[in-house]
């Protein structure tokens, strides 16, 4: 069993084979003898870590998860379209339900997946965010994600003009 310390200082135990889906943790376990001391994760809160462990538990038997980093880097050299397709095909019902959370939690999961190097979860969260953006106008995107408009009116005019070629009519 591997011990992890959350941002709040709580210690969570998890099976090695479950948490090794995190490239970061797998590297730590292989490179260094951490002995009995828990691995500190000061940038991951308890609730988020719990969600992530849930994800890893569900997927622990997926053989494709055991990919070495080298292999997955080779695959990434394909067109990103193909890579995205492959990622989407791998998503099951659990994955879709997993992402039915509030925006704040979704973003935290995305950051943690990046930090812990869990590519499939990063794909899943990224795909979910992309879907939230897809088809929205600029204003709608700002409203959805609470993004402040920091363009001056002239700048905004200019950017809209520069990008008008990709607007569908």
């Amino acid at each position: 069993m591997i011990k992890l310390t959350t941002a709040e200082g709580a210690i969570i135990e998890v099976e090695r084979e479950v948490i090794e889906q995190s490239g970061t943790i797998r590297n730590i376990l292989n490179d260094v003898r951490m002995s009995d001391k828990p691995i500190p994760l000061p940038n991951v809160s308890g609730p988020i870590l719990t969600k992530i462990i849930q994800y890893c538990e569900h997927h622990k038997n997926d053989s494709s998860r055991r990919q070495l980093k080298q292999e997955s880097q080779n695959i990434e050299n394909d067109s990103s379209e193909a890579a995205i397709q492959r990622a989407i095909e791998k998503m099951d019902e659990f994955d879709h339900n997993f992402c039915r959370v509030d925006q704040g939690t979704l973003f935290d999961i995305l950051l943690a997946a990046n930090f812990l190097d869990i590519q499939p979860l990063l794909d899943l969260a990224g795909y979910t965010v992309a879907n939230m953006i897809n088809g929205k106008t600029v204003k709608e995107i700002r409203d959805t994600f609470h993004i402040k408009n920091d363009f001056s009116p002239e700048d905004e005019e200019r950017v809209i003009k520069e990008n008008s070629w990709c607007e569908n009519e």
């Binding site: 970061t24 730590i28 940038n43 995305l110």
Partner: protein
């Protein structure tokens, strides 16, 4: 999971402390301990100033300009470069290469990281990749002694490989005629 600025400062300080401890161990050639401290540093520093949108849609390292590399990214890159150095000394070329590549993802302009990558390639036997990257580095710093040392390593390995090949092929035609 938004942290207050004081929180972030505290974690950054703690992370840099671990990095300094790692450096101390490295100088004393305690590479395992150095690695442990560098990992602790990474865990404290990574994800600190991350914002979700740029994580979801990351900038292509090839498109980054040198001024765009943030201080936190530079710090991460240094730590990962040092980890690569540990792996070189611990004879783990694959891990050295991985760490050096991570370092370059954070800061594509980190020359030391490129050098560790060269060292990884040399020890892995990817001599052509190593030589190509070393050419780039030597262009900017032709007199660097560390670069020269790796040049000699490459030359030595190439000579070794050639010798081995000659031995294997020697007498090939004699064997065929027997």
């Amino acid at each position: 999971m938004a942290s207050s600025p004081e929180d972030i400062e505290a974690k950054r300080t703690q992370g840099m402390k671990h990095k300094d401890e790692g450096n101390t161990h490295f100088k004393a050639e305690r590479f395992q301990e150095a690695l442990r401290e560098y990992y602790n540093a990474l865990l404290h520093l990574r994800g600190l100033n991350a914002d979700a949108m740029s994580t979801a849609i990351p900038t292509n390292p090839e498109d980054m300009k040198e001024e765009e590399v943030t201080e936190p990214s530079k710090d991460l890159s240094v730590i990962q470069t040092n980890m690569a150095a540990c792996h070189v000394r611990l004879n783990r070329p694959t891990r050295a290469i991985e760490c050096a590549q991570e370092a370059l993802k954070a800061n594509p302009f980190n020359k030391k990281a490129k050098f560790r990558l060269v060292q990884g390639y040399v020890r892995e036997g990817s001599l052509i990749k190593a030589a190509k990257l070393l050419d780039e580095l030597e262009k900017d710093s032709p007199k660097d002694t560390a670069f020269a040392a790796e040049r000699r390593n490459i030359a030595a390995k190439e000579a070794e490989a050639e010798k081995k090949q000659r031995k294997e092929l020697a007498g090939m035609f004699d064997r065929a005629n027997k």
